[in-house]
Every structure is written in C-alpha cells, then in structure tokens.
C-alpha cells in the first residue's frame, strides 16, 4: 500500500520519537477506548526490551480488568521489577509488595504513593485529581528515577499537560468515528487544538488580545465578531475548549497562539471500535495525512508519515 509500510517494530520507532528530548511522555486518546492504554503498554514493552527502567502513572484510572463505565475488557498494566509508579494507596497491589518511596496529595482512593516494583507485578494505576497535582507527581517521578516517565493520559483532562515539557502521543481510532475520514478529521482537530503555536513577538499582529482562563464558545463568537485579524493569546492549548468548525473558523480568522505550547510528537491508531472495524492500513495513513504527524498502529505493526525504523534493538 503506497505511503504505509510494515515495520520491524513501529513501537520502537514511536518510543524513539517520544523520548527524544523529553523525560515524560503522555498518551492521550481522542475518545474512550481509542487504544491509549495499548499504546502506553507498547511503549513500556519497548523500554522493557531495552532494559530501560521507566516510571508510570495515569491521569485517569487505568489498568483495571474491565472499564468501570462500559464493562469492556481493558489491558492490564504489568510493571516489570524496578518500575517506578505513582498511584493512589487504594490501588497498591498487596502482592508482591512494592517499595514505598514517598507519598503526598489526596485522591478519592487514598493518598498518592510513589513506589517501586521489587518484583514484576500487575496492577491498576491512577493519578491525582488535579492538574497541578499531576504535574507534581510527574516531577516527583522524574526526581526518583532517571528513565522516562510514561503517563496514561485522558483527553478530557488535558489540563494536566499544561506547564509541562512532555512529549504527547495522541491515540485515536474507530472509537472516535465511524469512518476512516471521520477518525482522521477528529484526530486532526485534536492535534490542531493541542498544537497551538507559541507566541512570536516578531510576527504578532498590531492588536494582541490575551484571553485569561478558558477560551470557550462565547469567547470564540466575540473574537470572530470583533477581533478578526488580531493575535489572540491563551495560556496554553488546553484552555481552548471550542471544537470542530467553530475552532477552525476561529483559527482562520485570528492568529491564535499560546504562552506555553505543547509538543505533540505522534499519533497511534486503533482500527477496532464498538461494533466498528476500520481498514488498518487506510486508517494509519489517513491519520498521518490529516495531522501531519507520524502515525503508528502498534499492534498491527504499521506506520505512516514516519521514517522507516531500523532493525529491533537488542534488549
């Protein structure tokens, strides 16, 4: 199929891309069951094969056997020995025992605990309830180890991404659209929204409007009516809550920028949704084309828009 290739290991390529220049990698999904945890596990598997000790945490609650909302089976989080993990005390497996290194911050499942797996273990992971606490948890994990910090993220809680220097991987798939085109469009919208450029004083328009807090639909309407051509600045891309056509119209009408840009490095695709299966090759290719980012199907071993990976690295 032109433009797409079967790689020796797209997961390896994705891992290299994500860890280049960032200590923390956050995987966010465009919808529930978009393959986020599968991507997360693929990154961890690469690290394990290479003998790299990682730290893991989650913006939501992940790793439970089935989804607490829809009962769908979900991938478990298997932590090899040595893995650092941040999770609420209530999710700590009793066996085998973890080494408890630190604690701090409250969650509904008890205090956040920073621990190290002494033996391989399988568990659920979860994270703190606020964006600030999440950033603190990532910083603590960075301080406790020297490997990458992998964060199982959540698209509806992207505020946690603000203020960090994470590499962000967007997981998308049949869960967010019934057709390849729909999935690609949704991915493009998410990536465009999260990829707002940072401020550049040399190219700013004469009129600069700073939006404090969230930029919502009402703000967007006002800006479209009264601020066409101006540079509009938000704190970070997570403050933009408008979607779809309104977002596109706004982006066309104003020079939309942010103080703290995010770094989106890649997309992953999952062709399987509830009652829907999309063509694997076409999906990965369409997402790469619509987002302008490398796209990977880490299960089917496909990639598009990315350089061909070399042979698998030795463990």
């Amino acid at each position: 199929m032109p433009g797409s290739s079967i790689f020796t290991s797209p997961s390896e390529a994705l891992f290299d891309l994500a860890t280049a220049g960032a200590r923390s990698i956050v995987v966010v999904g465009t919808a529930k069951n978009a393959g986020k945890t599968t991507t997360f596990n693929a990154l961890r598997a690469v690290a394990a094969r290479r003998g790299i000790t990682v730290a893991v945490t989650s913006i939501g609650r992940d790793g439970e056997p089935s989804d607490v909302l829809d009962g769908e089976p979900k991938p478990r989080i298997r932590l090899p020995a040595g893995t650092l993990v941040a999770l609420p005390a209530g999710l700590i497996p009793r066996t085998p025992a973890l080494a408890i290194l630190d604690s701090g911050g409250a969650t509904a499942l008890g205090p956040m605990v920073f621990a190290r797996a002494m033996l391989a273990t399988t568990c659920e992971i979860g994270g703190p309830p606020t964006a600030r606490a999440m950033r603190a948890a990532i910083a603590r994990l960075c301080a406790l180890g020297d490997g990458p910090v992998l964060v199982d993220g959540a698209i509806d809680r992207v505020a946690s991404l603000a203020g960090g220097n994470d590499a962000i991987v967007v997981a998308t798939g049949a869960a967010s659209g019934a057709t390849v085109a729909a999935v690609a469009a949704a991915a493009a919208g998410t990536v465009a929204r999260l990829s707002l450029p940072g401020r550049d004083p040399s190219s700013e328009r004469e009129r600069v409007i700073t939006v404090e807090g969230a930029l919502d639909a009402r703000d967007a309407e006002d800006l479209l009516e009264h601020a066409s051509g101006a540079t509009v600045v938000v704190s970070d891309p997570t403050r933009v809550t408008v979607r779809g056509a309104l977002f596109e119209a706004l982006r066309a009408a104003v020079d939309l920028r942010c103080e703290h840009p995010l770094r989106i490095v890649a997309c992953t695709t999952s062709p399987v949704g509830r009652g829907i299966t999309l063509p694997t090759h076409a999906l990965v290719q369409a997402v790469a084309a619509s987002t302008g980012l490398p796209a990977f199907d880490v299960v089917s071993g496909l990639a598009a828009g990315a350089p061909r990976a070399s042979a698998p690295r030795p463990a």
Binding site: P96, L98, A99, V299
Partner: protein
C-alpha cells in the same frame, strides 16, 4: 472564662484564639479537650504560664518557628494505630506512614536539642517503633523486606524464577507472533486484523473472540507454576504484615502517648510564640485587675501594619471604676486591654504586659460601644439595656463588666442617671467593672473610683493637613498622653473641640463651639 460573641470580638478573644491556634491535628485535639481556666485554677494556670514564659526566654523565636513548621508536617498515624489495635490488617503504606511519623518525631527532637530546649520538655522519640520498622527502611521509604518473614526470601526467589520463566516463554511466543503474524503483541491479549493476518493462529495462541474484520488472540501459556509461586509470596507477605501489625499494636500506648505529647507541644509552642511576639509576663493572681504596659495585641498588630505606634496601657482596678478622658484617648482600648489580658490568663497564655496582677474570671461581659448583632433588631439603646440587664444578673466578684459609653444614645440626663444606678448595683454585687463615659460627675455620684486618660498635651495642630488621616493619627498619637491616672473631682475634659479641629472640622465652626462652651453651653451670641 466565658464571653458572648460580641464580648469575644470586643476584647480580642476571637483574635487570641486564632493567634494561639495549634498548627497540627494533634494540637487541635489537645485544645478541644481543654476548658479555660477559671476561679480556683490559679496554681495550674500560673504553672503553665510560667513554664511557657521560661521557654520563651530560653528558645530562640526562629527555633520555635522551626519546631512549629516541623509539627505541621507530622503525619497523622491515628487511624493506623487504631486499626492495628483492633487487629485489622495493615498495608505497606501504613508501615511507611508510621515510619514517617517516627522520623518526624526524631526531627522534632533534633530541632529541640539544637535549640537548647530542656530535657524534660523534649518531644518523644519512639525507639521501639523504629526498631520494629528498621528492616524495611532504607532512608525514608518502606519495603516489606525479606527479614520480616521466615519464608519471604525463598518465596520471592521462587516467584522471580517463575516470572522469568514465564517471561522467557512469553517473549518466545511474542517473537513467533511477530514473525508469523506480523503483529507486535504488547500484552497477553491483542488484536489481529484480518487484513494483516488471516491464517491459522499458532498453537501458542488461543482465540478470545473474533469478528469478520479482526480476531482477538491471547497467549496460551501454562501459568500454574507462577500462580503457585505467587500464592506462596502472598501468604508469606500477609503473614509478615500481620505479625508486624501485631507488634505495632503492642506499641499502642507509646504511640498514643507520643501523639498526646505532640498535642501538648503544639499547644505550648503556640503560647511561646505569642509570648515572644508580645513580650508577655507571668502574672500574679488576685481579685484585682492591675497591669503595667499592657498591650491590646489585636490593635497593636493592626497599628503596626499601618506603621503606627501603639502605646501600652497601665491600669489598676479594684472593684468598680469610671474611666473618663478625651475622645481618641484610648478609653475603649483600655477596656479591651483589661478584658484581653484576662482572656490570656484564662487560656494559659502569658498576658501581654510587663507586669500583671489578674483574676481568673467566670465571665466577661461588654456593654455598650458600637452594638452587637442584636442591635440590628433592637435599637442601640435597647441593645445596651438588654446587655446591661444580663451583666447585672451575672455580676459577681468573678465577673468583669466592661462598659463603653453606656446610654450615650439617649438623653444625657437620663443616661447619666442610669449609668450611676448600674454602677451602684455592680458595686453592691462586688463585681469588677470599668465604665468609660463622657458623662460628668458619675464617679462621685456612684461612689466608685475615678480614673482618667491624661489627654492631649496642649499641642496645636494648625499646620496639619486634616485630609491626611494617617498624619492626623500620628499627630494625635504624639500629642496624646495615654496614661491612665487617678482623677480628681471635676476632671473629665474630652478634648473634643481640639480633636474636631485636628480632624478638619471647619475652623469657624470650632471657634463658635469654643465660644458657646466658654459660656456654659448657652447659644446666645
């Protein structure tokens, strides 16, 4: 000592409670169980205040602040201790938290020693608890190490071996899956799209479910050995936790005693910090209310924030007295200071004064002033009368009644008469009472002592810009003699006209008022 809400606000009792609030949960529990000192508690109150004053002298303020910061950070072990005692299983996070608690106590004791604190007040150190947890602690963390159980080491080694064996087999299968199917399985179950591979699955895989477009395959691995090894570790770890929890339950008394000691320390440090901030003293206790250089700390703090000087107050009160003097001369502040210092000793706080002789009271009541919340329903006058009624009903030798310009909102002749009658009644009941008033001749008529604020020193304020309120307050401060002195008959000048001039009232109006005043109040030209 009790005081209603309005009185509490006026005498700074609310402020005082906030100023001496504990920084941690142990201190809050400690204070919740305490009652204020009252009549009969003089020895205990003096002992506490003397100990506090002594430590305020011995410990540096910076060390006290460090101790309070350390106290604030002590984790709360109560739920863990209670669960352990009840025989509930504890988890590794519980052991970790107990380790943190033990570390925090160590840290407090070190700060105490470094600060030169006396041995008998040293925060507790839980050496037996430290010994119980030692095998799991390397630094600040906790791990249920092999030393906690006889079978732990062997069980874990067996599990590790089983894991490695399983991983080897899993990797081998994964490699075959990658080779044969072209799929990279990252978990035990994974999706195989039919457009990627639609052949027969290798025997190491089983079919979990399938659709026309994809199959979900799972690894077929014999995990029985691993499950047995896991169960053995689970048993060994739970046994170790149960035994450790049992030993910790045996430390229940020591742990609860330590928590009580932390509560008492928090309580004490708050008072020490207060004493250091406000230069407090150890009082003597008697039925009199006398103090030198007393400070109404809420006001002094407020003035300091605005860069103004606060003048300490000296007062001697035995029985009932009337306090007269100029407006803005500090009559209300004198009343508040008297109540504040009594509140200090009732809470075991060194009173903010150079020297003090104070009673332990049953009750303080404030009558008059700006009016209580009840005054929004009643008129100011009615509110005063109701409060006066309550004061008379409660009045005894163990009650302090502070009366601030009682009946000033009614006709002056009737108001004066009423004040005289109230003071006579208070005197008859043996109460301590101090009444600030501008009414003339009240002390003589009521047969009570007469004190007065010395007042303005005669400075003129002609050059002052009356629009600058801060400058006006500074000028008044400089010119006002705030000393409370014994008055003689006829004393009672309010310096009202001079102050009105200072505060910018039209000069012609002030001059006219002076002329009227000089003629004894007649308005005839």
């Amino acid at each position: 000592m009790t005081a209603d809400l309005y009185t509490s606000e006026r005498i700074g009792l609310d402020w005082l409670r906030a100023a001496i609030a504990p920084v941690g949960a142990f201190g809050r529990r400690h204070d919740e169980a305490l009652l204020p000192y009252g009549p009969g508690d003089e020895d205990r109150a003096r002992t506490e205040i003397a100990a506090c004053r002594d430590l305020a002298d011995r410990l540096a303020a910076e060390a006290v602040e460090r101790l309070r910061r350390a106290l604030r950070a002590v984790p709360e072990p109560t739920p863990i201790v209670v669960r352990a005692r009840a025989g509930d299983p504890l988890g590794d996070v519980d052991f970790y938290e107990l380790g943190r608690f033990s570390d925090a106590l160590d840290g407090l004791a070190r700060i105490w020693d470094d600060a030169g604190g006396p041995g008998d007040g040293r925060p507790p150190v839980l050496e037996r608890l430290q010994a119980l947890l030692a095998a799991g602690r390397d630094g600040a963390g906790f791990y249920l190490g092999d030393a906690f159980g006889t079978d732990l080491r062997a069980a874990r080694a067996a599990l590790q071996e089983a894991d490695q064996d399983l991983d080897r087999r899993r990797l081998a299968v994964a490699e075959r899956v990658r080779t044969i199917l072209g799929v990279d399985p990252s978990g035990d179950e994974f999706v195989v799209m039919r457009d990627v591979f639609d052949g027969a699955l290798p025997p190491e895989l089983h079919l979990v479910r399938e659709t026309p477009a994809y199959r979900v395959a799972g690894f077929t691995l014999d995990t029985a050995d691993r499950e047995r090894a896991f169960a053995r570790v689970a048993t060994a770890e739970e046994t170790a936790r149960r035994e450790l929890a049992g030993r910790i339950a045996g430390e229940y008394d020591a742990l609860t005693a330590a928590m009580r000691a932390l509560g008492a320390l928090d309580h004490l440090l708050a008072r020490i910090a207060f004493a250091q901030r406000w230069g407090a003293c150890v009082p003597t206790f008697s039925g009199r209310l006398a103090f030198s250089d007393g400070v109404f700390a809420p006001l002094a703090g407020l003035l300091a924030q605005r860069g103004h000087r606060y003048t300490p107050i000296t007062l001697e009160l035995a029985g009932v007295a009337v306090l007269t003097g100029p407006n803005m001369g500090g009559k209300s502040a004198a009343l508040a200071t008297a109540g504040f210092l009594c509140a200090c000793v009732s809470l075991g706080v060194p009173p903010a004064a150079r020297v003090a002789e104070l009673p332990l009271l049953e009750r303080v009541i404030w009558v008059g002033g700006d009016g209580s919340a009840r005054a929004r329903l009643l008129s100011s006058y009615a509110d005063e009368i109701v409060r006066g009624r309550d004061a008379l009903a409660a009045a005894s030798a163990r009650t302090l009644v502070l009366i601030d310009e009682f009946a000033r909102t009614t006709g002056p002749r009737e108001g004066r008469a009423l004040l005289i009658a109230v003071l006579e009644a208070l005197r008859a009941r043996g109460a301590l009472a101090l009444a600030a008033t501008h009414f003339d001749g009240v002390p003589e008529a009521a047969g009570v002592a007469h004190l007065r604020i010395a007042g303005l020193s005669g400075t003129t304020f002609a050059q002052l810009d009356a629009r600058d309120l801060d400058a006006a307050l500074d000028a008044i401060n400089a010119a006002m003699d705030y000393r409370i002195v014994e008055a003689s008959a006829g004393d009672g000048a309010s310096d009202a006209l001079a102050l009105a001039e200072l505060l910018g009232l039209d000069a012609a109006v002030v001059a006219r008022a002076r002329a009227v005043y000089g003629r004894g109040g007649s308005s005839a030209p």
